[in-house]
Symmetry: C2
Subunit: 207 residues, 2 copies
DNA sequence: GGGCCATCTAGACGACGTAAAGATATGCGG
DNA sequence: CCGCATATCTTTACGTCGTCTAGATGGCCC
């Protein structure tokens, strides 16, 4: 996984400090580096495998360094969740603007869960992070709006169309599909391409 | 909750040992007691809050006692998941035999998730337990069969009816609904009665 | 009633999260 | 160019946790 981390602009480039093999006292972009490493760990072993000391070790700083940027473990996971919701909102927005299709919005939901699995796994586990964090709440609201507004537009002026419940139904469907896929709980006969599964799923059920 | 039990040395009359308030060296059914306590803890603080030493303390045994019954922490959670799948299968079977309704089966799914939340939270988090455990695999298969066989019966002889995909769709819908409800992610306008929400959700979506 | 063996205790070890206090660099005002 | 405030990182320390090992206990079967 290619990691592109540009150091912040305030770092003087002329000193080529980062090219030096000696580890500088100041990392330069420790916060970003810890988040990236956390994503890697979560992707390989789930959020339960996150260890602050381990992240510090991987990045090459002392074990207590992460505390300065995130306070504690929940703080780090809060940052992960927030970033996840922002990426999520961006992905949904892009997809809907590109296709204008409600169904493709659902497919994009599942795709995000799979492609950004580490984020997704944290986002929908509020016990892991600080759910009342204001930044996070805003990021989440942004994503939620992108799920409901396309539906509202679709309902047109039809008053018998229950936007709220239709939205929850669609949301539940794709969320459940994504969750079950990530758990490996889906029947193997469906294959292993989540996007294709999402597209092939019927939009109605027997009574 | 001070549980003051004294140890060994003075073992009184042999017959009134259970009625005696002195704690016997052998618990009697430590395994069951630990599982019950684990369910309580998970219900209050989630599976992440499980601590073997804490469970032992609550039950009044030494900190290493749980290891004998479950091997390790994953062993305990494996037992929780297995019991959960058995209860789940029983609940689904009862409901379908009682009503014969496919939709009510879905409602029962959601109801189980809410009423037996601690089990549900562990069952669908395979990273917490020993997923390859044979007892667990069997319990899970039993539950899965109860989700698909009613659907197969419903399809009748209609060859254009894709049982597998229809089943996954229905399963995803109820699973997603249950998961989102437990996360507190559903819009509050829907109220807080998950059964009623499940029944009010439409069975089809816009294209 | 004697011994076997499942059950439980006791103590130790390394890893972890987190708090406190000290070290070091960075950028800013003079 | 210089001194200093401050953000960043290190070091040390403490308590808790999971798990390992050896030993104590007592139910149960012959």
């Amino acid at each position: 996984m290619a990691r592109i981390w540009k150091y912040s602009g305030s770092v003087p480039a002329e000193r080529e400090r980062q090219a030096d093999r000696q580890r500088p006292y100041h990392h330069g972009n420790l916060r970003r580096a810890l988040l990236d490493e956390a994503i890697d760990v979560i992707g390989e072993a789930g959020p339960g495998a996150i260890r602050l000391r381990d992240l510090a070790r991987r990045v090459g700083v002392s074990h207590a360094a992460p505390a300065h940027h995130f306070g504690d473990k929940r703080g780090l996971l809060t940052a992960v969740a927030e970033e996840g919701y922002r990426l999520f909102a961006a992905a949904l927005r892009d997809e809907y603007e590109r296709t204008g299709s409600f169904r493709e919005l659902g497919v994009a939901y599942v795709r995000f869960a799979v492609e950004h699995r580490p984020y997704f796994e944290v986002m929908f586990r509020p016990d892991l992070y600080r759910n009342e964090d204001p930044e996070l709440a805003e990021a989440r609201k942004e994503a939620a709006a992108l799920l409901y507004t396309p539906l509202g537009r679709l309902s047109g002026g039809n008053p018998s169309f229950d936007t709220l419940r239709a939205g929850v139904a669609a949301w539940s469907l794709v969320h459940g599909l994504a969750t079950l896929y990530l758990n490996g709980a889906l029947p193997p006969e469906l294959g292993d391409d989540p996007e294709q599964i999402a597209r092939s799923i019927p939009g109605h059920f027997p009574p």
